[in-house]
């Protein structure tokens, strides 16, 4: 399987009226890889997915799958399967009917279709739901039905549009692991869209960060996190986001620079170089987030241990990890 499903987007452009959804996007997804597209809403990530699926046509540029230009190929000839955010299950059909839908359209023999549908259902652990209707199942079960339906398509590319967004938090955590396991198991190229930066970090071999129709950075999640290519990526990935401070202020550096440091790279230390006042302490159980303010008004967020002892109003000293200070150009926002 691993040899199929390489995707290449070449200067892809798409506008809706005066809104530019995609602006000259180049992206390469390797065969068998899980690529996560992450960005705020309106950044164009779902548009990319719809263009790869063929549900929408680009204004310009090419989409290549396994080296073949598929820009003008209708959706059903593209060997892609899509899992929609709200799952788009057919409400008038039972779970089994939903799984059989595509097989029937493709005129697979009845007994063969039935066998395949049941085995896909078993694989995703929904074998006992086959006679129910979608509105009689839970959110997590619906997600599995949608996945089973995609599985039956036997695609060379899976497209997942915010597959976890409509699940509640505990379920999302469990399902994230299931999705990863399934992807490892199948080894099929997968493009996954999310606006959740935690999901972007955990799912996916590589992540592409988008903003306003442009790709800002592509790379393995940890690398993008450690070396953000610009201030947008630095601010978007990570929660709480990276502290960005003008050059010449508390973090040093010169004018014309913006310096960034992640909250976990600031340590409470009586010998630290930065003196700040604690405004707010958010005790999250496993850690504490301190919102602080320097003498010149610079706000710094600090990630500290669970019982760090700091109290609001207190003055503390912070020691930045000098190896983990990021330098950005104040004009372009690019990394220096």
């Amino acid at each position: 399987m691993g040899e199929h499903g390489a995707i290449r987007l070449e200067s892809l452009t798409r506008s809706y009226g005066r809104v530019v959804a995609l602006d000259d996007v180049d992206l390469e997804v390797r065969a068998g890889e899980m690529m996560t597209l992450v960005g705020p809403s309106g950044s164009g990530k779902s548009t990319i997915l719809r263009l790869i699926a063929g549900l929408d046509r680009p204004d310009g540029g090419r989409i290549l799958v396994d080296g073949q230009d598929v820009s003008q190929v209708p959706p059903h000839r593209r060997a892609v399967a899509m899992v929609f955010q709200d799952f788009a299950l057919y409400p008038h059909l039972t779970v089994l009917g939903n799984l059989l839908f595509g097989l029937r359209v493709r005129r697979v023999r009845r007994d063969e279709a039935d066998r395949r549908a049941r085995s896909a259902a078993e694989r995703l652990g929904i074998g006992d739901l086959l006679d129910r209707y979608p509105d009689q199942t839970s959110g997590g079960q619906r997600q599995r039905i949608a996945l089973a339906r995609a599985l039956l398509r036997e695609p060379t590319v899976y497209l997942l549009d915010e597959p976890l967004a409509s699940l509640d938090a505990p379920l999302r955590f469990a399902t994230r692991a299931d999705l990863l396991a399934l992807h490892r198991d199948l080894g099929t190229t997968t493009v996954h869209v999310t606006h959740d930066q935690a999901e972007a970090m955990t799912l996916g071999d590589r992540v592409a960060v988008l903003d306003r129709g442009r790709i800002r950075q592509v790379g393995p999640p940890q690398q993008v996190y450690d070396e953000p290519a610009d201030m947008f990526v630095a601010g978007f990935l990570g929660s709480p986001p990276m502290n960005l401070v003008p050059g010449g202020a508390v973090l040093g550096g010169s004018r014309g620079l913006i310096l960034g440091i992640r909250p976990e790279d600031l340590t409470l230390d009586v010998d630290g170089s930065i003196e700040v006042t604690v405004d707010v302490v958010e005790a999250l159980g496993s850690e504490s987030i301190l919102l602080t303010r320097g003498a010149d008004g610079t706000r710094l967020t600090v990630r500290a241990g669970p019982r760090c002892g700091a109290r609001p109003g207190e003055t503390v000293r912070l020691r930045p990890n000098p190896d983990r200070v990021h330098h950005f150009d104040a004009e372009t926002g690019r990394r220096r």
């Binding site: 699926a53 063929g54 549900l55 209708p74 959706p75 059903h76 892609v80 399967a81 899509m82 929609f84 709200d86 788009a88 057919y90 409400p91 008038h92 839908f101 595509g102 359209v105 493709r106 209707y133 398509r153």
Partner: protein, 293 residues
């Protein structure tokens, strides 16, 4: 909570009361009176109608005109309901998608519904005119010599059904609204699985709209058995050969033209029973075909 619960039915009845009174006075009481009159010698002008037992029923069982009338109504039902539904559903689905100028098409489809029945019927007297009517001229373009529409039993029936294909605005609106409420992603999911426009119509749109279509079918059945009065009265007056002597026309003739109010009342009850039978049959078919889940 308990006091609330105790008050709730009262409040509900209070809100229902104006409607219930109207239904009682304007529908239930007249309907019961009508049923009572069916067994009297009331002419419509009689001061003191007398009970005559089953004599009207006996007359009905021997009435050849009534048989013609029931046949005319049945044929009209079989012709007009499918045609009207097809037009309403077809146009509703076609014009549901946003497209340039769609608004004007939708207005055009609804407009005949606003035209009064009589005006539309008079218009159709012209449309169906064998000498200078546009319909025959249109047929002439295809080399057909045309029909003498309203003088032949078969074409007269078609003529009335054709006219009734135009006032379909309400059904059209219902289909339009119902189609627009369907989730577009279902269609995208189906397209990804290789389902073309026709397959989407068959596998998604029609099954998803089934409850609405059933409602329209039931409503149109009731309507079609009743609203054919005006066109038949203006276009054909029940002729030729009683081909358009639909039950409402026959009832009107009996009750008000021939002073047989009691007999008209009896046939009205028959029309109600016929309507009930048709709708029951419709619902049985629907259950049998498992149209609704």
């Amino acid at each position: 909570m308990t006091s609330d619960r105790g008050r709730k039915p009262l409040t509900a009845w209070a809100f229902l009361a104006p409607y219930a009174v109207a239904v009682g006075l304007l529908i239930a009481v007249p309907a019961l009176l009508n049923l009572g009159y069916a067994f009297t010698d009331h002419t419509g002008l009689t001061r003191d109608p007398q009970f005559v037992g089953l004599s009207n029923v006996r007359r009905m069982l021997d009435d050849g005109f009534l048989l013609d009338s029931v046949r005319a109504s049945a044929i009209h039902l079989a012709l007009a309901v499918p045609l009207r539904l097809l037009a309403a559903v077809g146009l509703g689905l076609l014009l549901a998608a946003p497209r340039p100028g769609g608004r004007w098409f939708r207005v055009a489809v609804y407009l005949p519904t606003v035209v009064p029945d009589v005006a539309l019927a008079v218009l159709f007297l012209w449309v169906l005119n064998p000498l200078y009517g546009p319909l025959n001229q249109l047929l002439g373009l295809f080399g057909h010599s045309g029909f003498t529409w309203l003088s032949d039993p078969g074409t007269a029936r078609v003529g009335v059904a054709l006219m009734l294909m135009f006032p379909i605005g309400e059904g059209f609106l219902v289909v339009l609204a119902a189609r627009r409420m369907l989730d577009g992603r279902l269609y995208e999911a189906a397209a990804l699985e290789g389902c073309g426009p026709f397959g989407q119509l068959r596998r998604l749109t029609l099954p998803l709209l089934a409850p609405v279509l059933l409602l329209l079918a039931v409503r149109d059945t009731i309507l079609t058995l009743q609203v054919n009065f005006v066109p038949a009265y203006v276009l054909t007056d029940g002729r030729p050969s009683n081909a358009t002597l639909y039950l409402p026309v026959y009832i009107f003739d009996q009750a008000f033209e021939f002073s047989g109010f009691a007999y008209g009342a009896l046939i009205t009850s028959v029309l109600m029973v016929v309507t009930a039978i048709v709708i029951t049959a419709l619902l049985l078919v629907v259950r049998r075909w498992r149209v609704l889940r």
